[in-house]
Subunit: 222 residues, 2 copies
DNA sequence: AAGACAGTTCATTTTAAACTGAACTGTAAA
DNA sequence: TTTACAGTTCAGTTTAAAATGAACTGTCTT
């Protein structure tokens, strides 16, 4: 009978840890120093909190040289964060109808600046299937055919490649556990889809809705 | 960007409050003194914690004379508790397959001593539809036809009515938000269904499985 | 009307946990 | 090989929040 779920809530409930989890909720892995900067606390203190989260298996670390990348260890963590966020007093303007269904964030959301969730993964896998991109380690490569495809929908790969930031990184989705397209190419693709009104952001969340127009267009393009 | 879900986690994370929520997770409403007894703390302290939970709209009170009945104010609270419980390290013996699906507790579970969840609600509504019981305020009335129906499956209503506890209370289910049959009649009905092997309790939880035999029998009876 | 009971409020004490400062490992650059 | 950087560990301090004791409101019983 005695169920110790309270200890998990207490763990998540500390303000610093909650801010850490909210940042990691985006799906990207962060280093300890990046987190310390975002969360605005001392490195020692942050380290203590990270240690607690690791011990409870809410986070996992990947060591890369002298950097340590922290991220959610399992999708359950994201579900818990989601459901806790769902407890907050709703803003008056929020639509009631949408709330009843499963949280849209699981299905389709933005991760940092690119498309994630099952839609993000599906789009990525479709691009792979079409032979436009190819997974290679931690990044995607764009094929010649892919260059033409992206050009057709208004994305200039050459220009993006010239940018300083990663061009076509592979970002791991914590609900799907499969890679999706990130980097400047992922961001550009999201931008195009937004511009064409295939997707619409929901205010105050990372959730994205697929519009009717978007559904049609995507079944054609992908 | 700043999302204060941590305050909700902190609220749930206190050991006393967590125990309160776990008890109320059963779906039944409890008075402050009942909770104090279950949770093993002083009435003042409990009152303070209840006040905090009320203020955050996690619980709601219903005043009945000098008693105050506390229960979840909305199903989101139950979801959050569920997802937090899902974060606990899994026991080695637990079946992996069952975990993947939606927690069975939402579908069919016992609430104190009677059948709740969607099955509990469905059974109750079927009884109403058959004209065996009729909702009247906070209790159900058993019709003449109902007396015979219950007698046929081995429940003596006259005997139950003589008992001190409520005979056929209406209990509100937090996932379905609809009343289901509680009280001594509800308990007796659950007992019969257990005895006949229509249902089987899952160890360590309130979840109840509908057996194959149960499915057949219930489609016949309800 | 008097007492018992259910429950709350408020001021005070207690306690657990977050934070700080200083010292320490291991990695990378100069 | 020296210096800087990323991150952790540990002992001591601080602080916010839970628990306690005493007094209070309202309700039911006899």
């Amino acid at each position: 009978m005695e169920h110790d779920f309270g200890s998990m809530a207490a763990l998540i409930g500390d303000p610093v840890r909650a801010r850490i989890l909210w940042i990691l909720f985006g799906g990207r892995a962060y280093t300890a120093s990046e987190l310390a900067a975002c969360v605005d606390t001392s490195p020692q203190n942050l380290s203590m909190h990270l240690a607690k989260l690791i011990k409870a298996d809410l986070l996992s670390v990947e060591v890369q040289g002298r950097h340590r990348y922290y991220s959610f260890s399992r999708p359950e963590v994201a579900y818990a964060v989601e459901s806790l966020a769902g407890l907050l007093p709703r803003k008056p303007g929020a639509s009631q109808a949408a709330e009843k269904e499963d949280p849209p964030i699981r299905v389709c959301r933005t991760c940092y600046d690119h498309l994630a969730g099952s839609v993000g993964v599906a789009v990525t896998e479709s691009l792979v299937g079409m032979g436009t991109i190819r997974l290679s380690g931690r990044t995607f490569e764009v094929t010649e055919k892919g260059d033409r495809w992206f050009d057709a929908i208004g994305i200039d790969c050459a220009e993006l490649r010239a940018q300083r930031r990663g061009f076509a990184r592979a970002c791991l989705d914590w609900t799907e556990r499969r890679p999706h397209l990130a980097g400047s190419l992922g961001a550009a693709l999201l931008q195009v889809m937004m511009d064409r009104q295939w997707l619409r952001r929901m205010e105050g969340t990372r959730a994205v809705l697929v519009t009717g127009k978007g559904r049609k267009a995507m079944s054609e393009y992908f």
